[in-house]
Symmetry: D2
Subunit: 111 residues, 4 copies
């Protein structure tokens, strides 16, 4: 069967998470450059269709600064997004869980 | 509300598409290296949870070879995936449509 | 033989260009989000060792906006960097030449 | 001054390392998929100009398999390249050193 609006909304939400993570993982990041990276990530993803809001928190205090900077990985970021598709709105988030950057759908509702 | 199995399956499908596209877009590719890139993309994505099958076709005949190689972009690839989550199976695909690499859910069914 | 300071400086310059290009190529970008992406790219690369200055110009006026946004590729950016290593300074730049994003060493001098 | 052939060779070598690392870091990888990823990385980089040989070893035995797969990072790969430019040949390598994926020029010689 064709997807429902809610299913299509969840598909779109997943695309945004995969994009954000795999576009930006590996970026050289330091506590000083974390804010500009957060902003660029948010605005890049908000370009994509159906993405009503994207909020990225790079955990500057937890960055490994042994070599002054490190590479962005899932353990250093928390992300929330709101996707709107047809008459549905989906809230999603990414955060570490058991050593793994878990992306999940938090809520599916009518707009 | 929490997502249904079908919605979670669609979310997972979206993650795989975003991952595949933004991990590998930009890779230097030529007709000769297209097969090894296809294989690596398929096997990389099949590592991710709930991805039962991933099939990538890099359109070797269409690659711009003015400079011997080019960078992988959406116009040079076609992708199909089967995602299984709980009792649901989702078929998805990516192909060019109107100059844009469109990712879409083709079918949502019971397994 | 071991590299001279000038050769090591050129090697470091090349690393930065490869990093910048392949980390950020594919990022969804629009005229509105171009400034935040420029800033994030500059600050990310300046984290890397020996990079004294990195300047990125995303050519907002030339972005394809048929679908509101496009993906960042070499045709949409101009980059300059100054690398300092030992007693040498290297100036490099990237710009389109004959349809190809050419990265080149502009000057190698004593500091 | 314009770069010498040796300096241009080192610049080209650096580009390849930055490309390889930042194109492929973050790729989902398991012991099973490591060989296809190695091959794709080698062939992708060998497309680039002046790259006479690229050899990638993904350290399959060291991959974190707690969640079956992990993301490719510098700690899981060793890379060697031979770059030829004009009458010069440059050997380079990347391996972990003190917790950091160090890329370095091993030798600069006449061809």
């Amino acid at each position: 069967m064709d997807p429902t609006d809610a299913e299509a909304a969840c598909f779109e939400a997943g695309i945004k998470f995969g994009t954000l993570y795999h576009q930006f993982a590996g970026t050289p990041v330091s506590p000083e450059s974390a804010p500009s990276l957060e902003r660029a990530m948010e605005e890049a993803i908000e370009n994509q269709p159906f993405c009503a809001d994207c909020s990225v928190d790079v955990l500057a205090d937890e960055l490994d600064t042994t070599h002054d900077y490190t590479e962005l990985t899932g353990e250093y970021m928390e992300v929330r997004m709101r996707i709107e598709y047809g008459d549905r709105v989906v809230h999603t988030e990414m955060a570490m869980e058991d050593g793994y950057p878990l992306m999940r759908v938090v809520d599916v509702s009518e707009r």
